[in-house]
Amino acid sequence: MADQTVHPSLKPGTEDIRFFLNDREVVGKKGETIITVAAREGVYIPHYCWHPSLSVAGNCRLCLVEVHLPDPRNPDAPAKPAPKPVIGCQTPISNGLRVYTESKVAQECQQGMMEFLLVNHPLDCPICDRGGECQLQRYSMEYGAGHTRMADEKRKFHKPQADPLIDIERNRCIMCTRCVRFNDEVGGEHVMGVFDRGEGNYIGTFGQGPVSNILSGNIIDICPVGCLTSRPFRFKARVWELAQTQSTSIWDASGAKVTHWTRNRKLMRTTPPSRKAHDRYTVNEDTEEFIDNITRFGSDFGLHADRWDESRIRIGGTLIPGAFVEAVRQAAGSLAKTKVNHGADSIAVLVSPRATMEEGFLAAKFARTVIGNDNVDWRMSFATAASADAASLAFQHADGDLNDGFSAVVLVNGDYLHQVPTFAMRVKEYARLNNKPVIMIGHHHDAYFSKCAGRRQYGCRPAETSRALELLSLAIKGDAAGNGELAKIFSVAESEVASLVDLLKGVAGKALLIQSLEDMNGAYLPSEVPAALTLKAALGATWKYIPVLRDRNAFGLYAVGAQPGRLPGSEEAVRKAWKINEKAQIPTAGGQHARDLVAAIEEGRIKGLLALGADVLYSYPDQDRLLAALEKLETFVVSDLFNSEITRRATVFFAAASNLERDGVMADLEGNLARLKDVDGPTGGARPDWETLTGIATMMGSTAFAYESVEDVFNEMIRLVAPGFRGSFTGLELAGPANDHSVQDPGGARRRTPAYNPGDYRVDGAHLRWSSEPFAGAIPAVAAEAPAAAGQFLLTWGEHVQGDDYHLNHASIAHLLKAKPYVEVHPADAATLALEDGKRAVLTVGTESIEVTARVRKGPAQGTLYFPAGLGGLKLTGLGESLTAGLQPALETELASV
């Protein structure tokens, strides 16, 4: 099956092959196919089923080309025409081959194939949403005969309503099976199939179910015809009416690049970056830049009915709409008053993890210079202050990226597909296609990687993960004394441990150590991060480290110093840039940790709060406690989009600009910068946060906030954060309709190896990097886990991009995007519970219980359960300690009520 078929072009040999393409001599590598070399040489061969990221199917036959073969016994004789044309997508190149892509034979083949494909294709282009960006339409114009000889009735299928996000219109299908292969190979599960036979062939899902994976929306883009179209975008607009803005996703730290398609400034759809194809910018049907469904369908939250697009000021208990300037005056006055009455340390600044680097930078500067304290932070969702600090340690040592691939990857814990979907996809696809070892260590393994042939899983109890990493690093250094203990932790034979050590030692070239920081109970992270860094130090300099946190701009906010104890650059540089005189102290110590902010408010230590984005407050697990604490504040200035429980408690509310209305730069987890681009400025009275902060700071008497545009902020920020940066603010913008300087025709030169290389976007020096010495710190001990009662499991959990999220809750189709609650169970535990995959069960944590779907897979370690936090509204508030949970199969009566 397809998982054994590696795309030939991805495994090219080193031997040069010289052949002739339309009578021009070209050079390719042994094992490459005609279509890939032709694409690289700028010769476009039409194709439907061939896709650069998918295996070769060879069933559309549109890439038929004429070939002439040399006589092997007499190389000097002219090449003889092959008896039949061959398909370009599957025919490997060979020495002396003569390929003709535009000869009469090739053209006749193309015309004939187009006629066959159109035999049953309905002529409903006026109704079809693909119209205008349809490969079939385009080829029909470019390669078709221009008329039909089909007089008979066309085949018709009934139309199932299988998926709430994807519309299937089988009559239009040309059986290229791109969607089937995408789900099988990239999506990770063979959920779609080609059913029936002969003329009755159709694509679909088993039992007409939905295509239930987080990457499924991409089959809309890669479908070359109108068979799979977007349901949320259905009939909303024609593609040629839409304006395009090249921007970036705000949802997770993979930092997917996107195009927002708008009409009259209203977001119609979001797709992977549109590329120039055939004189027009369109979604390239050969795109390899896949995005997840949340990015694709959830980015329209700025249009929600609860949006407040005017500043509001609390007067006599109610929030009255007011002018922006008035709100700035009011906010500055209240903050100044609180500062005078209760001291500088009584004010804290919170930044949303989805703020841009400029906003984070200004917040850091505001706290340090205007307020005069270190109370600025974004890390509210962490379980404990210690785990947040562990994450900062991880960021300090982050030096890895996926550019140029890797020769091996070690994954420590993590539900990567559901935390950073497109990053996980790129790692997995590179490992799968190039057959690289994937070593999974820890108490939770991502089942998404199960199709990688080089996969090895070493599961252990959560409390033992750091010990396992430590022992492994000792073994790599040559100390095999701990191998016995390690084998016991992993429940494998000692020889298996030895082979793992040999494998890791034998890795040549760049390799990656990826660690998930999404350990929501926070009990293990403080020791796991130093343990992973110790392992990295033991493995050597060729190993690079990527810490994975879902929060979109976590890395960028860390970089700009929007957290206690960290400045955006060296102290002298900051002093100079911020115009702080020699004598004054820059506060960098004693900052209020966001994690403990609620307690500090309750104790009366914090009296004033400035929050950029209410989502950072919403990420606090105990919302009731948080809301009660907010009532106690003297001054609560919040800049946000929506009328919500949190913003209703504000003393001054600023209408913030949404993801489509602000401009700035964000960093992804590899340290690449990407530009968040506004479509056309904010709506109504909304203002981007940099304006709000600049206004308040200036009103409070600061002269260091004289910015005229967000670019000014960027320039000041980037000089401190990345002195080596040689690009520019506008240079970070993605190439698109507005500024086309690097885009190439898909028929033009293409990068083939490795797949999913984000290097397209890399601007020299855009990486945020801190070259650091190998980690040599101590590994804190982990508290031994309390023995679980009979029938109880240790609970581990992490965030989920489809979970409870402040912004996602306001998306127009949030109810379709949010995942139903599920729990991952180890097969051995499932067997004792008599639970089957997909069956309902009841999860009980403390006094609360929730009905979940059981997913039986080797994700969590035996004896533990993995529950994605925020699904189904179960709030896990017991943080910083190990939690146990009970799991019972749901009774029949309960089943009936579902």
Partner: protein, 182 residues
């Protein structure tokens, strides 16, 4: 100079005599009498229906795309079994033509794949308010009981221009015998 003057007077006199002796007055008593327009006259837009009352327009927006003065605005929506408006899956929920922008070029009716929009014979386009010039679906759609409009056979390419109608159109526009005998 005198010669030119006499030549001009001669033409005037020629016509005066001809029409006094001929069929009668050139002008009609508008608005009591309305002159019938040639069949391919491009007047005010109309949206057609099928005989069963369903709208022909499927909201494909090709008219809006082809419109050189960007006078057409259209928003489509999906038909449901309970609320079926057009014959296909798609229908135009909002269909507006800005008549002040429209240059009556007729590209919309040529682009229409469903023969849904036609330019009818109505040339009375004066309104008292500027907002009235934005014609929406209610202004343009034929009444349901009417089904096809007068031009139900209309096809911009084939059926309409016959040898007869072509001859009529090219004939002297002031010749009342053609206008009356339709």
């Amino acid at each position: 100079m005198i010669f030119e003057l006499l030549k001009g007077l001669n033409i005037a006199a020629h016509h005066m005599v001809r029409y006094m002796a001929g069929p009668g007055n050139v002008t009609v008593e508008y608005p009591e009498v309305k002159r019938e327009q040639p069949p391919f006259f491009r007047g005010r837009h109309r949206l057609q229906r099928y005989k069963d009352g369903l709208e022909r327009c499927v909201g494909c927006a090709l008219c809006a795309a082809v419109c050189p003065s960007e006078a057409i605005y259209l928003e489509a929506a999906e038909n449901t079994p309970e609320h079926r408006v057009s014959a296909g899956e798609r229908y135009a929920e909002v269909y507006q033509i800005h008549l002040l922008r429209c240059i009556f070029c007729g590209f919309c009716e040529e682009a229409c794949p469903e023969n849904a929009i036609i330019m009818g014979p109505s040339f009375e386009l004066a309104m008292s308010k500027r907002t009235d010039f934005i014609a929406d679906k209610g202004d343009m759609l034929d009444a349901p009981e009417k089904g096809f409009g007068d031009y139900h056979e209309y096809d911009p390419y084939i059926s309409h221009v016959t040898a007869e109608s072509d001859k009529k159109a090219k004939a002297d526009p002031w010749d009342k015998s053609h206008a009356a005998g339709h």
